[in-house]
């Protein structure tokens, strides 16, 4: 199957893939870089959101939660 793929696709298209489309391959690299940046930023923001609203396993709040909210002491 690989041989038929090489014979029917690679051999006729070789001058295109190697010479004509060089700049398009560079453009595809640029597009891949943009996709990587967007995906990593999305992952980072989701992780940050999860961290801010999370609590530890013992039911205690995270330091950022304690920092963001007011502590009102109650005297009984």
């Amino acid at each position: 199957m690989l041989q038929s793929l090489i014979k029917n696709v690679w051999v006729p298209m070789k001058p295109y893939y190697t010479q004509v489309y060089q700049e398009i391959w560079a453009g595809m690299g640029l597009m891949g870089f943009i996709v990587y940046k967007i995906r990593s930023a999305d992952k980072r923001s989701k992780a940050l959101k999860g961290k801010i609203f999370a609590s530890d396993g013992w039911g205690r709040k995270t330091p950022s939660y304690l920092f963001r909210t007011r502590r009102i002491p109650v005297l009984n």
Binding site: Y16, V20, Y21, E23, I24, A26, G27, M28, L30, M31, I34
Partner: protein, 226 residues
């Protein structure tokens, strides 16, 4: 009702597996290739159409630009056939997805820009300043031309996405309105149905025009840079 309108644009899955790749590859089946000199009617018509389009589109280019003929003809055939197949009821149109259109626009636009900077650096840089600009406007105009250059791939992708998505949404809405009006007032439903038919004819035209516009703009960017 809002939920139903936008679910038709969700990427399709069959039993949990995404089949969007199969859907994207499907239009290629409709364009058979042949090694014969004299073909059957279908292939002859397709070859005649491709020849007509390629002669008209590539006539303005020099030898370097004409090496992109295969790419541009594949592009217009793919976008045209995908858009037209999307007009079938309940079908999925890959060109409604911005990710897909950006994936087509960014490499092609970047390819033309890199080609321009690599082979004709001075001319490519000269595009940032139109001829006959007054001296005190030069800094602002260079900034404006740079912004307009970087907006080109975004405009290409968003134009195609918005046109096809908006057309499909309108057909959904007016079809839904026709159905809802049939019980209330058949005469109004008839008018809405006539509007739906006219809109469908418009969408056929828009499908082909958007394919042509996308390819023509890429061809123009190529002409500027070769």
């Amino acid at each position: 009702m809002n939920e139903n309108l936008f679910t038709s644009f969700a990427t399709p899955t069959m039993m949990g597996l995404p089949i969007v790749i199969l859907i994207i590859m499907f239009p290629s089946i409709l364009f058979p290739s042949s090694n014969r000199l004299i073909n059957n009617r279908l292939i002859s018509i397709q070859q005649w159409l491709v020849q007509l389009t390629s002669k008209q589109m590539m006539a303005i280019h020099n030898n370097k630009g004409q090496t992109w003929t295969l790419m541009l003809m594949s592009l217009i055939l793919f976008i045209g056939s995908t858009n037209l197949l999307g007009l079938l009821p309940h079908s999925f149109t890959p060109t409604t997805q911005l990710s897909m259109n950006l994936g087509m626009a960014i490499p092609l636009w970047a390819g033309t820009v890199f080609m321009g900077f690599r082979h004709k650096t001075k001319a490519a840089l000269a595009h940032f300043l139109p001829q006959g600009t007054p001296i005190f406007l030069i800094p602002m105009l260079v900034i404006i031309e740079t912004i307009s250059l970087f907006i080109q791939p975004m405009a290409l992708a968003v134009r195609l996405t918005a046109n096809i998505t908006a057309g499909h949404l309108l057909i959904h809405l007016i079809g839904g309105a026709t159905l809802a009006l049939m019980d209330i007032s058949p005469s109004t439903a008839l008018i809405t149905f006539i509007i739906l038919i006219l809109l469908t004819i418009l969408e056929f035209a828009v499908a082909m025009i958007q394919a042509y516009v996308f390819t023509l703009l890429v061809s123009l960017y190529l002409h500027d840079n070769t």
